[in-house]
Symmetry: C2
Subunit: 297 residues, 2 copies
């Protein structure tokens, strides 16, 4: 008993260390800038107004980056500035172009039923080129598009995604009564991963390597790559190809290893791409009206 009371503080301290370590690990996963001493959080200098400041966007406080994503901001001082005069359209032409583009984009739907018909490779190249025109924090262009057409690799991807997805569903069902397992099963069987002529796996580069070998955090890499995905979806829709936006849960590491991507890259999205199957269907749903998404002041 005396021995136990002597040991208790030690056990308590060990518990503290374990909890502290977990805390440390959980912090690492949020994208804290590596050098805190320089990128002092603004919270030091003024009280936080409300909890908003704790959201993701604010937490990725950056060091050395402007808030404007002026392309190439970091090197801007050493770069010459050149005149910029993009095409200018008369008002009626602008209105027509804005309507036409909306009409094309509004026909976009997430489609699971993809035809195996081949898609011209050059079209895919242009789609990826278009995605690469997105703005990015400090012009880091933190994206890698892995385009898979090799049947064996596609099948490996399918096995990884389906295995994780099935486990996910089974766990989620938990103590619920499984009254229609067959129906449920359609949720984790992803035939399109074999069938679609192309799978595009989009990786975000969470950091880069500087010439001196040090890591350079890519702030806003997830937002940048997501914007780039928006352009990619627009480019696919523009040529009549379909996809379904997916973010495979927990498959990132396995897929990264399968595709031999480096450690600074994390899977953000997986898009199967092709023509829609001739019997493709989509749920008959509506989008919000303009008044429900826009406020004019």
């Amino acid at each position: 008993m005396a021995l136990l009371s002597v040991l208790t503080p030690f056990l308590a301290v060990i518990l503290c260390l374990v909890v502290g370590f977990m805390l440390l690990k959980s912090r690492e996963t949020t994208s804290t800038p590596p050098d805190k001493s320089k990128g002092a959080p603004k919270g030091d200098s003024r009280p936080w107004v409300d909890q908003d400041l704790q959201d993701d966007t604010e937490n990725t406080a950056r060091e050395g980056d402007d808030d404007e994503w002026v392309d190439g901001n970091d090197e801007e001082e050493s770069l010459a500035h050149v005149p910029y005069s993009p095409p200018r359209y008369p008002e009626d032409k602008m209105l027509e172009r804005s309507k036409d583009f909306y009409t094309v984009m509004n026909q976009r739907r997430s489609v699971r039923f993809i035809s195996s018909e081949p898609v011209p490779r050059e079209v895919l190249d242009n789609v990826i080129r278009t995605a690469g025109t997105a703005p990015s924090g400090a012009h880091t262009e933190p994206w890698t598009f892995v385009v898979v057409s090799d049947p064996e690799t596609k099948h490996q991807i399918r096995l990884i995604v389906e295995e994780e997805e099935e486990m996910n569903y089974r766990q989620r069902m938990g103590d619920k009564w499984v009254h229609d397992l067959a129906k449920l099963r359609t949720n984790w069987v992803k035939e399109y991963l074999d069938v679609a002529p192309y799978l595009i796996l989009i990786f975000k580069q969470t950091y880069g390597i500087l010439p001196n070998g040090k890591k350079r955090t890519h702030y806003y890499n997830e937002i940048s790559v997501s914007i780039s995905c928006g352009l990619l979806l627009a480019a696919l829709q523009n040529v009549g190809l379909v996809t379904v936006t997916s973010t495979p849960l927990n498959c990132g590491p396995q897929l990264r290893l399968l595709l031999k991507r480096p450690a600074n890259e994390k899977l953000l999205m997986l898009l199967p791409v092709g023509y829609p199957a001739s019997d493709a269907t989509v749920p008959d749903l509506k989008r919000k009206h303009l008044d429900d998404i826009m406020v004019h002041i």
Copy 2:
């Protein structure tokens, strides 16, 4: 001494509780699903392969959402499915469309020099409509576009952004020798916030309110809204308007209050929109080549 050795375990336990509480708070700020018991992390059932699993994407493990963003996934069972047959183009037409779209998008640059010329409101409406066609996790459409043309509100926004930006710059300079403050100053003076005919402030809705009054977490809301921004940028470029992508640091809460947005909305981006100024310049930089952003397998 005896008293101390009796008290030590208690002190240790209190320390543990404090550390544990901090851990809990730090978890709250990352978007952990509210009900952990149901949304059991996959890590419980299999060893983590590597640190990848701890990235943002994986941490937003969801309960009740599929990994596919099939529009309206949640209500899919109750929704009728309808045939889907978007326009199909012959291969030469696809190739032409893919090139043309790339050419237009590749002309996009982030532009700080925006003309005060008025822009037709209807064009702006169509641009926002286009942004609203983006896919979103479980078809939550978690975006609000606040379009500001009122001069007084624009000026209030400018004051908030510039004040924060100036503090940010001054802090960042810290012990560095300020050899050209005038030059630096251009970094926090944002005249375009007064000048641009429109400011678009894009808010992400981090959660929704269910009919029973409970909160419903909008998983992947940041990715969804960023994709929507990609479509918005494409739509602007398509009609010959310019913007500069910015994520104002620490201004979110003040701007949210100014614009009277509810607590579930967080500012993601601020885009000044207009025609480019006649003397607009941009840094003379290049984009990565296709081979540097695409891997084909």
